[in-house]
Symmetry: C2
Subunit: 195 residues, 2 copies
């Protein structure tokens, strides 16, 4: 069940602190921000949040609040039937928050802002953000990021006897065959912000 009133207010304060990568609040911080003159009410509501599965409390540890995915992430829903409104969905398939975590890329990866329409056939549009997992090699057919000459391009990778072939996914553009390409890595995923 969704928290209400002061309980909700306290949860919001906590989530806010975590989202800004800041230090979690102390009981006294929460009391102050929520307008209590004692830490009891805070602990009272924290217990409710813990019972509802939104947080976990660590005993005898300062700022010992742990946020559950339920509180921070966006729920991923599978099938919804018309009878049940969205509000009633209790068992989402999971939660998504960090892109890097979802895509399974490590610390040393990076993202590129795509320019141009050469990969629209693969569902990669102008302005999309592609995530690159660094690697020196690639398998045939994988989408990769590579440096050709002075610019970075995203293309589909193939190895031929004449060198590396980089194919666009748009009939407007022909393939590039070169031995000079420097492979940056393979595309692990895409994020697009609509309009």
């Amino acid at each position: 069940m969704q928290p209400h009133g002061k309980t909700r207010e306290i949860l919001d304060i906590i989530v806010d602190r975590f989202k800004n990568h800041g230090t979690p609040p102390t009981l006294r911080d929460l009391a102050k921000e929520a307008g209590f003159s004692s830490t009891w009410p805070v602990r009272y509501h924290l217990n409710k949040l813990a019972e509802a599965g939104y947080i976990k409390m660590k005993k005898n540890i300062s700022r010992g609040i742990e946020l559950m995915d339920q509180a921070t992430g966006v729920p991923i829903l599978g099938n919804i039937s018309a009878g049940r409104p969205i509000e009633a969905i209790e068992n989402p398939e999971g939660y998504i928050d960090s892109v890097a975590d979802y895509l399974g890329v490590k610390n040393d990866s990076f993202a590129l802002k795509v320019k141009g329409d050469s990969m629209i056939g693969a569902g990669i549009f102008d302005g999309d953000i592609v995530f690159v997992r660094r690697q020196q090699t690639a398998d045939d057919g994988e989408i990769v990021a590579a440096i050709i000459g002075d610019e970075v391009t995203v293309k589909r990778f193939f190895l031929t006897d004449r060198g590396i072939e980089l194919r666009a996914e748009n009939p407007k553009y022909g393939p590039i065959i070169t031995k000079q390409a420097q492979l940056l890595g393979r595309i692990a995923g895409v994020v697009r912000k609509m309009r």
Copy 2:
């Protein structure tokens, strides 16, 4: 400059704690995990991390470590010229970590796992995750999620005199015109994990 050795090790410990939505470490936690028998070395390395812009230290506050985007997010790069290897990029356009933050969706939004190929023309493929910003209305041409009958579909929205028209972006499928559709919201963005 990238941190090395013990400094790097300490940063990794901190990032790990934050990524798991857990409580940030105390100086003594860090000393223990990094293998120090005193908090001095820890403070020594934390200062270096702070000078390098990876963290911020709050004075007189327990667990007062704040992580900068540089430490947690994936850098978004724009143009890279061949002369400079990726490692040397110092000024990325920004950092991306939380999808919801990047897309600008609030707490009450949700995500749907797309099934089918009816929107491939809009770059939305089978298995993609679409983020839905809840709203009861939509503008002509916006991509929306709606409930028709017993299932949820993602389509492009148009308002006609015969009711709501939901168009697929795939010549295989015709438009749906109905007065019974329940609009869930508009699609704020897409995330795709490759292969």
